[in-house]
Symmetry: C2
Subunit: 341 residues, 2 copies
């Protein structure tokens, strides 16, 4: 009897003993530890302080956050307030608001059990979607592929398996020889800390580079494809993702290298016509400047610290989703994708 090997990466978000259990991503790669959130304000704090991050993971976390309020016996007013605080904990990833709204709807229809069940279904669907989009995306890579990725769009950015890393993982599992260039992704280093940790656990070969190395890799012909995740995709196919993604898209186009965005369809915000309408979070400059005692910037110097940028659809070779691959995404293609069951 052949059994599936245990996933070497635990679920990023889970419902455990009436709490929302999160991998503490601030402590990786040094320590794999968990944080149990027992109140909505715990969940909001965990989202804000980056204990949990990544658009699909935020969707599930928001969903479980509402379930937590429901399980605590919240009334309509309290659930609405919890939903509002969760929805606005961070602004850019649309999945967060989506996950919150889904569970509020389930709670109104069926109460606490329905809310918990819906949150758990969202978490399970996330992993299934990522496995599906991984399989779709793996087919786009050549048999021996050198892939560049940015930030962390892995299991840790989702409930499990990953989006961009899901594509890489599926290619690896399918026998393709994939090596990965991992952008360290300043200022929070999600690439160096999280993507490298995942690839190391999965036995997929990789090398970490500072973000500024990418250009020289393209120039040397050392990148066969770029695969990244997304925080929000507008109805016209424009993509908000981690700051630096747009630069990679421009470089990929200049070197005729395909640029792929891997994301579940829940990342599409059909209410927004273009990327210009996506709210871009600007975070505290202290993330860049370092803490007192380890400051790398003169005291008092100003920092501009946007967390995301927008890549126009025209630079996206294909959007890889659980429903299939949308080549050259545009408004009509996105509409067809969303209409597909």
């Amino acid at each position: 009897v052949r059994t599936e090997p245990a996933d070497p990466i635990p679920p990023t978000v889970a419902w455990a003993d009436g709490a929302v259990r999160l991998v503490d991503q601030r402590r990786l790669p040094g320590t794999l530890a968990f944080v149990d959130c027992r109140s909505v304000s715990d969940v909001v704090a965990a989202i804000r302080n980056l204990t949990v991050r990544g658009a699909p993971a935020l969707g599930a976390t928001g969903a479980f956050g509402v379930a937590l309020a429901a399980a605590a016996g919240a009334d309509e007013h309290e659930v609405t307030a919890a939903a509002a605080s969760l929805r606005t904990a961070r602004p850019t990833a649309v999945n967060l608001a989506w996950g919150v709204d889904e569970v509020v709807r389930a709670w109104r229809a069926g109460g606490t059990d329905a809310a918990i069940a819906r949150a758990q279904a969202i978490a399970a669907a996330d992993v299934a979607a990522n496995r599906a989009l991984g399989t779709h995306g793996a087919g786009l890579l050549p048999p021996q592929a050198s892939v560049l990725t940015h930030c962390n769009a892995g299991a840790l950015a989702c409930v499990g398996y990953g989006t961009a890393l899901g594509v890489i993982r599926a290619a690896h599992e399918g026998g393709r020889v994939v090596t990965v260039w991992v952008d360290e992704t300043r200022p929070v280093l999600q690439g160096a800390r999280l993507t490298a940790w995942e690839l190391d656990r999965l036995g997929i070969p990789f090398r970490v580079v500072v973000d500024a190395v990418a250009g020289s890799l393209f120039a040397a012909g050392s990148v066969d494809a770029v695969v990244v995740g997304a925080d929000r995709i507008a109805a016209n196919g424009d993509v908000a993702n981690k700051i630096g993604t747009y630069s990679l898209a421009v470089l990929a186009r200049a070197h005729a290298v395909p640029f792929y965005v891997a994301a579940p369809t829940t990342t599409v915000d059909a209410s927004i016509t273009s990327g210009a309408e996506i709210p871009i979070e600007v975070r505290d400059g202290a993330e860049v400047a370092g803490a007192e005692g380890a400051r790398t910037i003169p005291a008092g110097a100003r920092v501009h610290n946007p967390a995301f940028d927008v890549t126009p659809a025209r630079l996206v070779t294909a959007l890889i989703t659980e429903r299939g691959v949308l080549h050259h995404p545009d408004a009509s293609g996105i509409a067809v994708l969303l209409a597909t069951a």
Copy 2:
């Protein structure tokens, strides 16, 4: 009587009491401290460990290094050995070998006094060249200019005044309103630590960004010009400079923003026909991974850490030198530039 105000930035490299006195750039921006090198091996170590860096500064440091050997009474064999160890302390900046060779030649012709005098003349000529190229380059900027720069091509990269920052400084002194986007420049953070420190001292407004922000600034129309330095320029105008420079050149071209390289003509290596022949230093991955206790990358993970990249001449809008501005640099333009007294 009007006197020149004292320069708020001390000389990066100077001859002091028979020693080579260097600003310790590893300790900035927190502490302005100096290191006195009293032997050639001290100088080689200071070059290797980045106490001093920047192509023109390395030229002067190499020059003073040979003067140090001469002053210690070295014979032909010892001077030749000192020159060899200085020339190869770091591989990419051509100014280092140039400065060393100049002083060896002076020593052979005129002994110790001639060696010291030649090194001091190189240092003085560096500041004069930077003031001249600064004036030439300032005229290229609009009256209100938002300039992006990368790494540190300031006074600290030279003996004084700076190349790319010399252009910005001359524009500022000439009454133009210049604001600067400062790339932090991972992994060693020469932008965040050194360029920000210089601009702060000079009272020129600036904001620090992580390197991956540049694309979004171009997309928003927030950059009027890119001005960077150079570590070596080939005879065809290809430019080796800090890793990440090439990405900025591609982004600038994609957004129709001028991309300027500011460097003294001593940075041109006429013996090299194209950038493909420039040796690119690959440094220890520990610079990227962090030290034990503050490691940001899983133990054992591999890092690729090239310190420089090559920007092809076709992406350079103009080369700004002490002899004037060479628009659209190519082999014939570089040849004319080098023939100009």
